[in-house]
Symmetry: C2
Subunit: 346 residues, 2 copies
């Protein structure tokens, strides 16, 4: 897949499948177009949207999910799925809406009391063939892993950013618990060493542990972390902040010998497709590995490499040298309501 | 075991083995004598002491454990064991002191951060043949159950007082997790219906759930709850508050048809001996089931039945009609340092 096509200038070109963003954050429902355009230009041909906007948790039942799907169907430039948020009260409403949802998202900060009962109720009612994803940390993470195990459910932990949490997940995997996880690309490239005031970033030691245990991390993600960083630094939160930086950051790590192109494909396409039961992307991105590129000022003039030459979907070029060449929002809700969990999908 | 010996007045007499207090609270090390005297008179011939006094956690390493064992060896009127407290930092010191400890007690309120790492460290180092006991609740309970399971350790949950926690433990047992639990006798007979201001008491609904699921509760206990109630009500905390009330409360439930004498034996002798690997008590208590007795004013003039006629240890009478007839503190530290966990003990 990596070839020396561009022989004259010795540039190395690689081709990857369209990447899958499993935790795409829309600040508001007005942003589906801008986020998905930025996604396409950045190599992401699928967005699974988190159920929370800047105004809080918004997708919690049949009506709010239908509304979100409708807006996104009009506006999105990539195919998409939309997650439903599981609250302390809505286990029944959530399961009623499951058919059109991409997954159940359990936002742990939103629970005041009775987390155990609330999570148990969701595990009991949410259909077996639909994934469950959560941002639980530390004790809450241990708790949700136990509940998943007691209910014989698989669970995906998103945005892991500490050695302690990763160790716990690794131990659970060793004991055959059905758990998968992702780490935000921002957590791999920003730490409290860069911004001591941002306590939600991993410590340098935590970040080192993430890199050393990439084999135990199933997926890469983007998530809300880039928006949190931008906000904390007083930067204008452009739509899709973080999306543009993800692939250049990872390709720079490839150039630095810390990562392989295959690992990017594994973590940003193959595992997401498998874990979230999504269609394999009929889409390609062509990158030049060693060509200088730029990343956000958040990374303080980091020297970055890896430019995206072309993105094509269904064999049609949608983006060329950074410029979008599609003008219609043709993204579809890609939640197959009949597909079985972990079923084979082409 | 229940016989109509006292035929003339139709009193029903029952004989029970000496009871085992698995969570005996000493306000200070000066109280071993008074507590164990009150214990003997109340039918408890063995005390396993919690590692916390009124001044906080005090037994955390070899030195503090040796000191406590020395004081208790001089002062105690019952055989005893002493638990060691597992803190956020002392996993190594705790395992060094394990040989002479009755069990490792994990006091969950004492953990600030990093609960998962701290508990994991204890599970990794504490010897396999020694029990681990914890007062974890709700999410912390779920978390500690996961960690016990991941480390293939058994765990005992003390002082369960809510339906939610009991349901979780029951579910864990159903999934073959090695977990046992106890409920304080006070939680069975006092609720927030009696004292709405005492939020640490079970609600009436929680208390109902405890009674309905006695089969899923391994042991009865006393614990710190009686001292907490006495303190909150502004009563003088006499040494052994709660100890005197335990058997009369349970025997009253026998008279009311809510409990059997065999269930008291199961929960206050057989299961504690099995779970905490203690010697079967070579001790007997003779009670008259239907004779009026008194319980603490905490229970608001509750009509109580079941008087203790005689307590004997090693075939010698130690208490007759409420009066202690021993004058020497002959209690021994009964932690057999060679005995295997769950080994057969006579
Ligand atoms: Zn290809
Ligand atoms: Zn419409
Ligand atoms: Zn398509
Ligand atoms: Zn279930
Ligand atoms: Zn007998
Ligand atoms: Zn001495
Ligand atoms: Zn003895
Ligand atoms: Zn272990």
């Amino acid at each position: 897949e990596v070839s020396n096509l561009d022989a004259q200038t010795s540039h190395t070109v690689a081709e990857l499948p369209g990447l899958v963003n499993i935790s795409s954050f829309v600040p508001s429902f007005d942003d589906f177009a801008s986020i998905t355009k930025a996604s396409l230009a950045s190599g992401f041909t699928f967005n699974a949207f988190l159920p929370q906007t800047l105004e809080g948790t918004s997708i919690v039942d049949v009506d709010s999910l239908e509304e979100a799907i409708d807006v996104a169907s009009h506006d999105a430039y990539t195919d998409f799925a939309i997650y439903l948020a599981g609250s302390e009260q809505n286990s029944q409403e959530a399961s009623d809406a499951a058919r059109n949802a991409g997954a159940l998202f359990l936002p742990f900060n939103a629970y005041a009391n009775s987390k155990v009962s609330a999570i148990s109720a969701h595990f009991a009612l949410w259909p077996e063939n639909k994934p469950i994803i959560t941002d639980a940390r530390t004790t809450d993470l241990a708790s949700v892993l136990l509940l998943a195990s007691l209910h014989s459910r698989s669970i995906h932990i998103t945005g892991v950013s500490s050695k302690e949490d990763l160790d716990l997940i690794t131990m659970a995997k060793d004991k055959q618990l059905s758990v998968t996880c992702d780490v935000s690309v921002f957590s791999l490239f920003l730490s409290q060493e860069d911004y001591p005031e941002l306590s939600f970033l991993p410590t340098a030691a935590d970040q080192r542990a993430l890199w050393e245990n990439l084999a135990g991390i199933d997926c890469f993600s983007i998530g809300v972390l880039p928006s949190m960083v931008a906000k904390a630094l007083g930067l204008e939160a452009t739509p899709g902040v973080g999306v543009q930086d993800a692939l250049p950051l990872l390709l720079t790590a490839v150039k630095d010998g810390r990562l392989s192109v295959q690992s990017i494909i594994d973590h940003f396409h193959d595992a997401p497709v498998r874990i979230f039961n999504l269609p394999k992307q009929d889409a390609k991105i062509e990158v030049t590995l060693d060509r200088r590129t730029t990343v956000s000022s958040i990374f303080k003039n980091k020297k970055a490499f890896g430019s995206i030459n072309r993105v094509s979907v269904h064999d049609e070029t949608v983006c060329l040298d950074g410029k979008l060449v599609v003008s219609e929002a043709t993204g579809k809700n890609e939640v197959d309501t009949s597909r079985a969990r972990f079923g084979s999908v082409v």
